[in-house]
Symmetry: none
Subunit: 202 residues, 4 copies
């Protein structure tokens, strides 16, 4: 009996996972508006109607998939930096890990950088949809710690976080969309150097 229930639940979980991944893949490849629910269903190997058993509608599907993906990645990042004590090293590790994660999942990059910037109307309709905010908060906290502990000079953590995020995000985006041949894996060192030591000639 217990076995039976388990099987059904396994099936449900498998199906949800399939939908989740098909959604990411399709949104990533073609964008939200050029991806139809039918496309996702077909990729996931389920009927169109099945999508609506798991998600209320297309918006809901997109938001849930997005949020879940971000949460998943953030957890990995936080796990990866939890043993590092030095806040500066922590900050740099975040980048290193961020880049590494996306390098290994190019679809995620595309999805992330394309769909995260939705229309104002979208933000108006879904005020809770601010997945980047969590990431920005993480950066802000680390920067604040760096400043407080004397690793950085007095700078506005909110602004600095945006600068850091914007840089990495754009680099990843270009890498993904234009198939840049930048050696992405080692790029974070250059980024860090520019931010930390500035560009000025000494």
């Amino acid at each position: 009996m217990a076995k039976k229930i388990k099987k059904v639940d396994q099936n449900k979980a498998k199906k949800k996972k399939a939908i989740f991944e098909s959604a990411i893949e399709n949104f990533a490849k073609n964008g939200f508006h050029n991806t139809s629910m039918s496309d996702i269903a077909k990729s996931a190997g389920v009927a169109d109607g099945t999508l609506y058993l798991y998600y209320k509608n297309k918006d809901d599907l997109m938001i849930k998939v997005f949020n879940e993906m971000v949460d998943e990645k953030l957890e990995l990042i936080q796990e990866a930096i939890k043993d590092e004590k030095n806040p500066l090293e922590k900050l740099y590790k975040v980048f290193e890990y961020h880049i590494e994660l996306f390098t290994n999942n190019p679809d995620y990059v595309r999805f992330f950088v394309q769909e995260v910037r939705q229309s104002p109307e979208f933000y108006d309709r879904f005020p809770d949809f601010h997945p980047i905010n969590k990431y920005l908060s993480l950066l802000e906290d680390l920067i604040k710690e760096c400043v407080d502990k004397g690793y950085m000079k007095q700078i506005d953590p909110v602004l600095a976080a945006k600068i850091l995020y914007g840089s990495i995000d754009f680099i990843l985006s270009e890498w993904s969309l234009r198939k840049d041949n930048l050696p992405l894996k080692n790029i974070y060192k250059n980024v860090i150097d520019i931010f930390h030591n500035g560009m000025r000639y000494e």
Copy 2:
């Protein structure tokens, strides 16, 4: 006779201009997918079918409008910096002007930051659509000059340009979408300071 032809041509030019501006305005306000050809035609005061006399289809209209808009803004920027000799000052003026332009045209920001990031599939279909590239080239050239003339240390201009662009772009995007209350007008000084002097405690 010659006069008549001229008048007709003037009319044509006027009509094309009207379509162009209506398209920008509508795309900017509502995004590509939430703007119908009918919307644009109505704004421009022409019939739906008329759009197709000047542009092959909706994609074509969008790309041409986008590219032309970028060219126009870039020209303004280049005009604004042409008297400055110091490449570093030039670079910073680019930012100042960039921010100023978008501050005065918030709709443009949205259009630019939302629509510029198309799907890979879109780039495959329209390989000529790289409006940002021109801007990045400008930055790269200036950075290279800075390096060459000893204003900056040896850094990769391509990477540095992306970092600068990504930072500003994201800040503008956040400002526009989330109605940030950052004092945008003076922000460029902080950005420049971070990049130029680094974040490290001295």
Copy 3:
């Protein structure tokens, strides 16, 4: 063993009853087309599939429920008039009871007056669905008796029954749909007076 079977049968009967009542309630409140099988199943506390163990399909469920409801009400009416000997009084009591029943179950009125009028195509498909006929027959019989026994002049009972039914039905419908503030409870006296004594000035 016998006991066990009985219990199962009791369960079955209970379940069928639950479905029946949930169906009425839902159809009455929201109409046939705005009630889904799922709605009914949920109200009845059974699974969607269970409905199909007791009814062939949605149409079948509706027709059976409708017919049974009418039969139930008719039985109540017949019970209420069975001690009355005077056919005229009997006729008037039918009305009184009819109005009273619906006044106490406004949802039923809506169901009755809305759904009872089906499309010709529906009647073609389900020739057995003539719930009103039974009611009309009752009226016709009473009118005939009135005529035969000299309580009424020579009129066509079929026509007269339709006139009486149509009047009451429309008044109830208006009362229900437009939330008329007609004092429904006492209205039947006026109706009877008009029919019995006519409208002419004497």
Copy 4:
């Protein structure tokens, strides 16, 4: 030039008329919910999308068609009775004409009697949709005049109008749906007799 414009307008008018009549026919035959926009489009010989050039949506189509039909018929009725001075005769002529009109257009009867009784939710959404009210008003006014001028005894015109309307409506409905073989054309005399002189034995 004038001819040209006329032709286009003629075409539009013809198309609108075709949609109007197809809508009535389909609604009449199958009811609102069992008629799809595609059905109507097909009957009218136009594309699905064309319906939306003339009507905002399915509800709008139904309401506009209904109201227009009622207005048209009411105008005919008012034209037909305008020379009659005696209010009682006027009232009876209304019935005569009402029956005659619908006898000649059985589809109209079905549409009228089926769709007029919509769900309460429908009335809530479209408070302006009370096509019957106009007809009821006409009856009320005539009855009031009859009472005032001594042709009828003191009765409530609102109630009396509903009784008269409900009777005729139901008779027509039965005639239409069940293909009654009642001699519809002369029936109004019997109806009038019952109402005017009552049913009682004298």
